[in-house]
C-alpha cells in the first residue's frame, strides 16, 4: 500500500503529451545540440529556462518552415502567445530546487533526467522524491563528474567512479547539506 503511493510508482514514467511533438532524441541525440543551447539559465539560476520560440526560430525560420508539426510554434511566434508546455519534472511547491547549485558542482543532467537524448517524448526518469534526493546528498561521490562534462549524455567516467567521485568532491569542496531548510523554507 505504502509502496503503491510512492513516487517511484506514481511519478516515474510520467509522459504528458506536449503541444508540439518536440523530439529530444532528434535534436540532442542525432543533431548533437548541447542542453544549454536552449536551457540557457541552468548554470546560473534555479530554473532551467524553457526556451522562448525565438530560440526555435533561430533554425526553424529557415529549416522546415512549412512543417505541419511546427504550426503551433509559428502561431506562437506570430501571435506572441506562449506555448502551453506541460511541466514534466514538477516538484511540490514547498520544495526549492536550484539547478545552478547542482550543475556547477558536476551533477550531470542525466543523473536526474535520464537519457534525454534517447527520448522521443520526455518522460520522468527518476522518482524525484525526498529520499531519492537525500541518497545523493548523503553520498555525492557516486554521482559527480567533472563539471565541464555535465551535459554529456553518454558520459563514461575515465576511472572508477568511487575514486573519481572522491577526488572531485575534495577538489570542489562539495558538502551537500541535508538540512531541512536547504530545500524547504
Amino acid at each position: 500500500m505504502t509502496w503503491g503511493f510512492s513516487p517511484k510508482t506514481t511519478d516515474v514514467g510520467f509522459q504528458p503529451v506536449q503541444p508540439i511533438a518536440y523530439s529530444h532524441a532528434l535534436h540532442v541525440g542525432k543533431l548533437g545540440l548541447d542542453c544549454r543551447y536552449c536551457h540557457t539559465t541552468v548554470e546560473r539560476a534555479a530554473f532551467a529556462a524553457v526556451p522562448p520560440p525565438e530560440t526555435c526560430m533561430n533554425c526553424h525560420g529557415m529549416v522546415k518552415t512549412k512543417s505541419a508539426k511546427l504550426a503551433a510554434l509559428r502561431e506562437s511566434w506570430a501571435t506572441d502567445k506562449p506555448i502551453d508546455w506541460v511541466k514534466v519534472h514538477d516538484l511540490p511547491d514547498y520544495v526549492y530546487f536550484n539547478h545552478s547549485a547542482h550543475v556547477t558542482r558536476g551533477v550531470g543532467c542525466v543523473e536526474c533526467h535520464g537519457r534525454i537524448d534517447k527520448m522521443e517524448v520526455v518522460a520522468q526518469d527518476q522518482p524525484l522524491s525526498m529520499g531519492w534526493c537525500l541518497d545523493c546528498h548523503r553520498a555525492p561521490e557516486s554521482h559527480l563528474r567533472p563539471p565541464e562534462l555535465v551535459t554529456k549524455m553518454d558520459y563514461v567516467p575515465a576511472k572508477p567512479q568511487a575514486e573519481l567521485g572522491a577526488e572531485l568532491r575534495k577538489a570542489h569542496n562539495i558538502n551537500p547539506p541535508t538540512d531541512c531548510s536547504t530545500c524547504h523554507r
Partner: protein, 1085 residues
C-alpha cells in the same frame, strides 16, 4: 497579585486630596489634578512593565499571561462551520480520487521573445522613488519576472542608504489592492479616458476663469513644468496646494526667522546635545529615515567619543520621546513657554540671541529647572548641539528654534539650511484652501480638478469642504481608489500607482529621483502629469496628450541641460525601450561601462540616473541665511500643568506613522502592525495619561464624546503612560468611510466596518495640530480595542518572579554605569554553571547569529512590515488579533520603567532566537522543527501537524500558529491580483501549521548558492535579513559567528551584549546589546 502599585499609592494620596470630591470633574471643563498627586516611584525604579493592566495587576492581565493561545479555538465568525467543512472535504476528496495521485498538471510559459538579460526566476532590483507631500522617498524595488514584490530603501541614495520606513515597506500591498479603482467614472457610471478628453475640450477653454486646481505639495520637475504650462494656457485658473499633514508651521517659521523660504536639514551625526520641542523627528518627519540613521550613529557608546544626549519636550509619548535621555511631558500649547524659558536661560549664560522674547513666567519649578539644565547643556556644546521644533508647533516656536541654533553656532554644523526655492510651497496652505472653499461655496468655481489627495476626508472639519464641493458643477478627481472625494465627484479618474508610471520628484535633500514604472498599469490608470497633459491638450485645437515617459524625459532634459533638441526626446532609443517608454529591461545594463555607443550624452545620463536612482548634481544648495527680527506674541497665561485652576484639556492630532493622512487606510499590513507606543491595531483611540484618566474617571475602551468649538466626535479611550497631564491625543488617518474592505467602506459592504475614528472632524484651520478647550464626556458605552500589548508575554516563572529580578529581559544602564562596569548587563542574572541534559550540537563551517542594539532601536516597526512582505506573513484581522492570533514573526516589545506619567522606555525587537539547545525542537513529535548544521531552527511546514507543543515550550513566545487558512481569500476572484504580491521564494503556509522567523533562510540559501557557484566565500554583510535591511538605525546585525571578524561577532564581544533568558541554557543565537542612556546628572534626582 501585587500590592505595591502606583495606582494603590495614588489612591492613598487622592483620598486626602481636596480636588477629588464628588464634584463632576468635567462639569467646568477643568482638570482636577493635585500637585502632590504625582506618584512616588523610588521602589519601582527598576521595575519594567508593558501595560497599565500589568502594572496594576488586573485579572485580565493574569488571564492573558496564563493562556498563551488566548481564547479557545473557535471558528472565525464568518468562517466555515464543521458540517460545512466536512461537505467541502468530501467534495475535494472525491475530486482527488478522480484525478489520481499526482497533483494537477503545471504549464510552463516562456516569453516568445525573451527580454535581453532576463533570467526567469531571478529577481532584479530597480531604483525608483515615490513622493509623499512633496518629498521623494528613494527606494529600490525587487522585481520578480517583472512583477514588483518588495520595496526597500535605495542603498545608493544618501537619504536612505538602504533603510526604509513602515509605509515604504507597505506600499507594495497598495499596488495589488483589489479595492483599487479600475476605471474612469462619470457621475458614478462607467466611462473612459476618451470621454474625459471630450469633456475636457468643453470644460477647459477660455482664460481659465472659474477653474481651480487642487493638488498636494509636490517637488516633481515634470509636475511643476506641466503646471506651469497649464498656468500659461489658463491664466485665470486658481491653483491651491493642500496636504492632509500640514507643514505650514515649518514653512512659516523659516520665513519668519530668515525672511525667505529655507529648508532645514538636521545633521544629527554631529550633534552631541539634541533638544526636541515636540518634534518626533525619528518617527514623523519627511527625512526620518536619514535622521534615525544619523541619530543612531552618534549614539553608539563604543565609538570612543561621547554619546549624544537627547532632551524631548512633548505632550504625547512619541518614538523620539521614547529614545530621549530626558523627557518632559508638557502640553503642546505650553511648549512655546518652555522654549522661551530656554532662550531666557541661554541669554543668562551669555549666549547672544537676536531680538527680544517675552518672559516665560508662571512655569512649574520642574519645568523651569528642566529648561535651565537644557540651556546649560546647549551652551556648553556650542556648534555641537541642535534644537528642533515639531511640525505641529506654531511658527513662532520654529523661529525660536532657528534663532537658538544660529546663536549657538550650530548652523552649518549640526543643522544645514537648504535653498529649496525651486519647489517651495505656499507657506500658508490652510489659508489658501480656506479661500478656495469660500469661493467654491459662493459658486465661483465651475470646475475643480483635484489631482490626488482626499480633501473631503482630510480637510479640517471646520472648513466644511464637502458642502462647498457639492456646489461646484464639474468635480474632477484623480485618485487610485473611489474614496470619499471620488464618491461625490462628477468625474472620477483612476490613478496609476507609482509603481506603474513614470514620474520624478525630489528627496528631502533636493536630489531628483526618476520614478520608473515596474509594471504596466494594471487598470489603465494615469498619473497626474498625464492628466495635466490631457487637459493641456484639450485647451488647444489639435492638442495631443503626451505620456508620462515623454514628460519626465523632457523635464530631465531641462534639469540636466542635456535635451538639446527635441529629436533626442522622441526618437526610439534602442531595442530595450519601446516608444511608449515601457519598462526598461534591467537598468543594470546602464551601469555597464561598456554601454553601446548608440547612446548619446542625454541617454547615457538618463540611464545612469535610472540605475543610481538619483540625478547627479541636483541637490539643493546649502546656504547660510541670517536671522531676521521677528516678534513673538506673549505667552497666553502659561498654565501650570498640575494645577487645576488653569487646567484645560488640550487635544493634539498626531500623525500616525502607519496611516499618514489616511491614504494608507486600506493597507491591511499597516492596519495590523501594532503601533509601537500603544500596541494598538486596526483602530485609533483617544490617548489619555494615567493621572488625567483617573481625574476624569476614564477607563480603557470606554467611549467618550469630545466636543470643541461646536464639533463633536465619539471615540474610545486608551490610557497611555507618558501622555502629558491635561493633554489628550488622537491619531489622524483613521475613520475612513470609503477606503475599501480593509479601512472602511460604509456603503458598499456593511460587514466591513470602519477602522478607527476620524480626527479631522475636530480640526480647525488654526488648530490643525492641537486645540485647547476640549470637553470630554463619557457616554457609558464601550468599544473593543485590539491591542497586542499583553500578547505573547514572556512568562518567566510568573510575573512576580520577573518583577523580583527586574529588568532582566530588557536591560538598561547609563553611560556612567557602562563605563564603570562595562559588563553590567551580564551581571544582572546570576546562575550556576549551565550543563545541558542533551548532547550539544557541533557546528561546521558557519554559525548564523544576530545582535540587536537596544540603544539604537526607536520602535519604528519598519522591520515588522518588511518581514511581513518578505515572508508572506498573513493578515488576520481585528477579531483574530483580539484572540492573540496575529502572525507577525517579529514583534517589538515595549517596556516601561518607573513613573507612569513619565516612564523610561525600552524597545526590544523579539523574534525567533534560533536557540542552540532549542526547547521547541525537543518537543515536536513529528520532526517538523529541526536543527540545521548552521544552527538554525528549521521549520518544515509540510511536516507540521499543528500540535503547538513547540510554541508552548518556547520561552520567548515567538512561534505563530495558523488557526485558519489566512490566504483563503485568494480563491475569491476579485483577489486574484493579490497573488502577484507573494514572495515566490517563501512557502505560503496553510491552516494548521506553525511558523516563525527563519532569519530569512531563503536569502541565506540563495546567497550561499551564488557564492559557491562563483567559487568564493560569502562576504560578511552579504546576507541581510529583511528586518535588518529595513532598519534605519542599523540596530539589527546578522552574520556568521564562526568568523571572528564579522560585524556580528564583534558586536557580540561587546561587554553590554547579553542573551535573554540565558539561565535556561538554551543558548539563543540572537543576543541583545543593553540600552545605554546618557542622562544629565543635573536632572537625575
Amino acid at each position: 497579585m501585587k500590592t505595591v502599585t502606583i495606582v494603590a499609592k495614588a489612591d492613598e494620596t487622592t483620598a486626602d486630596s481636596p480636588m477629588t470630591d464628588d464634584r463632576s470633574p468635567m462639569a467646568d471643563g477643568q482638570l482636577p489634578i493635585a500637585a502632590n498627586e504625582a506618584p512616588k516611584t523610588d521602589d519601582r525604579a527598576n521595575q519594567f512593565w508593558r501595560s497599565m493592566s500589568e502594572l496594576e495587576g488586573t485579572a485580565e492581565f493574569d488571564a492573558a499571561l496564563a493562556r498563551e493561545f488566548g481564547t479557545d479555538v473557535g471558528d472565525k465568525s464568518s468562517g466555515v462551520n464543521r458540517r460545512h467543512f466536512v461537505q467541502i472535504m468530501g467534495a475535494s476528496l472525491a475530486l482527488a480520487g478522480a484525478s489520481g495521485c499526482r497533483w494537477d498538471k503545471d504549464n510552463i510559459h516562456s516569453f516568445t521573445r525573451s527580454p535581453q538579460s532576463h533570467t526567469p526566476g531571478k529577481p532584479k532590483y530597480f531604483a525608483s522613488a515615490y513622493e509623499t507631500d512633496g518629498v521623494a522617498q528613494p527606494v529600490m524595488v525587487t522585481s520578480y519576472d517583472y512583477r514588483p514584490i518588495k520595496v526597500d530603501g535605495n542603498p545608493k541614495h544618501p537619504m536612505s542608504l538602504g533603510a526604509s520606513d513602515i509605509t515604504t515597506q507597505g506600499t507594495i500591498l497598495e499596488l495589488y489592492d483589489p479595492d483599487r479603482s479600475k476605471r474612469v467614472l462619470a457621475d458614478g457610471k462607467e466611462s473612459s479616458w476618451d470621454a474625459f478628453k471630450a469633456f475636457a475640450k468643453q470644460a477647459f477653454k477660455g482664460n481659465g476663469a472659474g477653474i481651480a486646481f487642487l493638488t498636494g505639495s509636490t517637488s516633481s520637475p515634470s509636475f511643476l513644468a506641466a503646471a506651469a504650462e497649464l498656468k500659461q494656457k489658463l491664466p485665470q485658473a486658481t491653483w491651491v496646494t493642500f496636504d492632509g499633514i500640514s507643514r505650514d508651521n515649518v514653512r512659516q517659521g523659516a520665513l519668519a526667522a530668515f525672511g525667505k523660504p529655507v529648508r532645514t536639514m538636521l545633521e544629527l551625526a554631529n550633534a552631541r546635545v539634541i533638544l526636541s520641542l515636540d518634534d518626533d523627528f525619528l518617527g514623523a518627519h519627511p527625512a526620518h529615515v536619514k535622521y534615525s540613521r544619523d541619530w543612531a550613529a552618534a549614539r553608539r557608546p563604543e565609538q570612543g567619543h561621547d554619546m549624544s544626549r537627547m532632551y524631548v519636550v512633548e505632550s504625547r509619548l512619541s518614538n523620539t520621546g521614547g529614545c530621549a535621555d530626558h523627557r518632559l511631558p508638557l502640553r503642546s500649547r505650553d511648549v512655546k513657554g518652555f522654549a522661551l524659558a530656554v532662550e531666557q536661560a541661554l541669554r543668562q549664560s551669555g549666549v547672544s540671541l537676536e531680538g527680544t522674547s517675552p518672559q516665560a513666567a508662571g512655569l512649574d519649578a520642574d519645568v523651569t529647572k528642566f529648561a535651565q539644565t537644557v540651556a546649560r547643556d546647549l551652551a556648553a556644546h556650542k556648534g555641537a548641539c541642535v534644537v528642533t521644533a515639531g511640525a505641529g508647533q506654531p511658527a513662532e516656536v520654529h523661529a525660536i528654534a532657528h534663532r537658538m541654533n544660529v546663536a549657538l553656532g550650530n548652523a552649518g554644523k549640526t543643522v544645514s539650511y537648504l535653498d529649496h526655492s525651486d519647489v517651495s510651497q505656499e507657506p500658508n496652505q490652510m489659508m489658501s484652501l480656506a479661500r478656495l472653499i469660500d469661493s467654491m461655496g459662493k459658486g465661483q468655481v465651475e470646475t475643480l480638478v483635484i489631482l490626488g489627495g482626499n480633501p473631503v476626508y482630510n480637510a479640517p472639519g471646520a472648513l466644511q469642504f464637502a458642502q462647498a464641493y457639492a456646489k461646484v458643477k464639474n468635480r474632477v478627481h484623480l485618485s487610485d481608489a473611489i474614496d470619499e472625494t471620488s464618491k461625490t465627484a462628477t468625474w472620477h479618474l483612476n490613478a496609476a500607482h507609482w509603481l506603474e508610471t513614470w514620474g520624478d520628484s525630489r528627496a528631502y535633500d533636493g536630489t531628483v529621483i526618476v520614478q520608473q514604472p515596474m509594471i504596466r498599469p494594471l487598470y489603465d490608470g494615469k498619473s497626474a502629469i498625464e492628466v495635466m497633459s490631457m487637459i493641456s491638450a484639450a485647451t488647444e485645437e489639435n492638442g495631443v496628450a503626451e505620456n508620462g515617459y515623454t514628460l519626465v524625459r523632457r523635464a530631465f532634459g531641462k534639469l540636466t541641460g542635456l535635451a538639446a533638441d527635441d529629436k533626442t526626446l522622441t526618437t526610439a532609443l534602442s531595442d530595450d525601450y519601446d516608444s511608449q517608454g515601457a519598462i526598461p529591461e534591467g537598468s543594470s545594463a546602464a551601469a555597464d561601462a561598456k554601454l553601446p555607443v548608440l547612446f548619446g550624452s542625454f541617454d547615457r545620463a538618463w540611464r545612469q540616473s535610472l540605475f543610481d536612482g538619483v540625478v547627479n548634481g541636483t541637490s539643493f544648495s546649502k546656504i547660510s541665511p541670517s536671522i531676521q527680527q521677528f516678534s513673538i506674541s506673549a505667552v497666553d497665561a502659561p498654565a501650570a500643568r498640575t494645577q487645576a485652576a488653569n487646567g484645560e484639556l488640550e487635544l493634539t492630532f498626531y500623525v500616525d506613522s502607519r496611516m499618514g493622512d489616511g491614504r494608507h487606510s486600506n493597507n491591511a499590513w499597516l492596519q495590523e502592525t501594532p503601533d509601537f507606543m500603544t500596541k494598538l491595531t486596526w483602530d485609533n483611540a483617544l490617548l489619555v495619561g494615567p493621572a488625567t484618566a483617573k481625574a476624569l474617571s476614564l477607563e480603557d475602551e470606554g467611549m467618550v464624546k469630545l466636543s470643541v468649538n461646536g464639533r463633536e466626535l465619539t471615540v474610545p479611550v486608551l490610557v497611555q503612560p507618558g501622555q502629558a497631564m491635561g493633554s489628550l491625543a488622537l491619531a489622524m488617518g483613521y475613520g475612513r468611510t470609503a477606503a475599501g474592505r480593509v479601512g472602511g467602506w460604509m456603503e458598499r459592504e456593511l460587514d466591513h466596518t470602519v477602522a478607527g475614528f476620524d480626527a479631522n472632524v475636530l480640526r480647525g484651520t488654526e488648530t490643525v495640530a492641537f486645540v485647547a478647550g476640549v470637553k470630554v464626556a463619557a457616554t457609558g458605552e464601550t468599544f473593543k480595542l485590539a491591542t497586542t500589548v499583553d500578547h505573547f508575554l514572556i512568562d518567566q516563572g510568573g510575573i512576580a518572579e520577573r518583577e523580583r529580578r527586574g529588568g532582566e529581559i530588557i536591560r538598561m544602564g547609563t553611560v556612567e554605569e557602562y563605563t564603570h562596569e562595562p559588563d553590567f548587563a551580564k551581571h544582572m542574572v546570576h546562575h550556576p554553571p549551565l550543563e545541558s541534559l542533551f548532547n550539544e550540537w557541533e557546528y561546521g563551517q558557519r554559525r548564523w547569529g544576530m545582535a540587536i542594539d537596544l540603544t539604537s532601536c526607536t520602535g519604528c516597526s519598519a522591520c515588522v512590515v518588511a518581514c511581513t512582505a518578505e515572508n508572506n506573513v498573513p493578515v488576520v484581522g481585528k477579531e483574530q488579533v483580539l484572540r492573540n492570533r496575529e502572525m507577525h514573526w517579529i514583534r517589538i516589545d515595549r517596556y516601561f520603567r518607573g513613573d507612569p506619567e513619565n516612564p523610561q522606555l525600552g524597545a526590544q525587537p523579539m523574534l525567533c532566537q534560533q536557540c542552540e539547545n532549542a526547547p521547541c525542537e525537543q518537543v515536536c513529535p513529528v520532526g517538523a522543527t529541526i536543527h540545521s548544521s548552521e544552527g538554525l531552527n528549521d521549520m518544515v511546514y509540510n511536516r507540521c501537524i499543528g500540535t503547538r507543543y513547540c510554541s508552548n515550550n518556547c520561552p520567548y513566545k515567538v512561534r505563530r500558529f495558523n488557526y485558519f487558512n489566512f490566504h483563503e481569500d485568494l480563491k475569491d476572484g476579485r483577489n486574484e491580483v493579490k497573488k502577484m504580491m507573494n514572495n515566490p521564494e517563501v512557502t505560503v503556509r496553510f491552516r494548521g501549521v506553525m511558523e516563525k522567523c527563519t532569519y530569512c533562510v531563503q536569502r541565506i540559501q540563495n546567497t550561499k548558492i551564488v557564492a559557491k557557484n562563483e567559487k568564493r566565500p560569502i562576504k560578511d554583510g552579504e546576507i541581510v535579513p529583511a528586518c535588518a535591511q529595513a532598519c534605519a538605525t542599523d540596530a539589527i546585525v546578522f552574520g556568521d559567528l564562526s568568523d571572528p571578524s564579522s560585524r556580528v561577532s564583534k558586536l557580540k564581544k561587546l561587554p553590554r551584549n547579553y542573551d535573554v533568558l540565558a539561565e535556561l541554557n538554551i543558548k539563543p543565537r540572537t543576543s541583545y546589546l543593553a540600552k545605554i542612556t546618557n542622562p544629565n546628572g543635573g536632572l537625575v534626582s
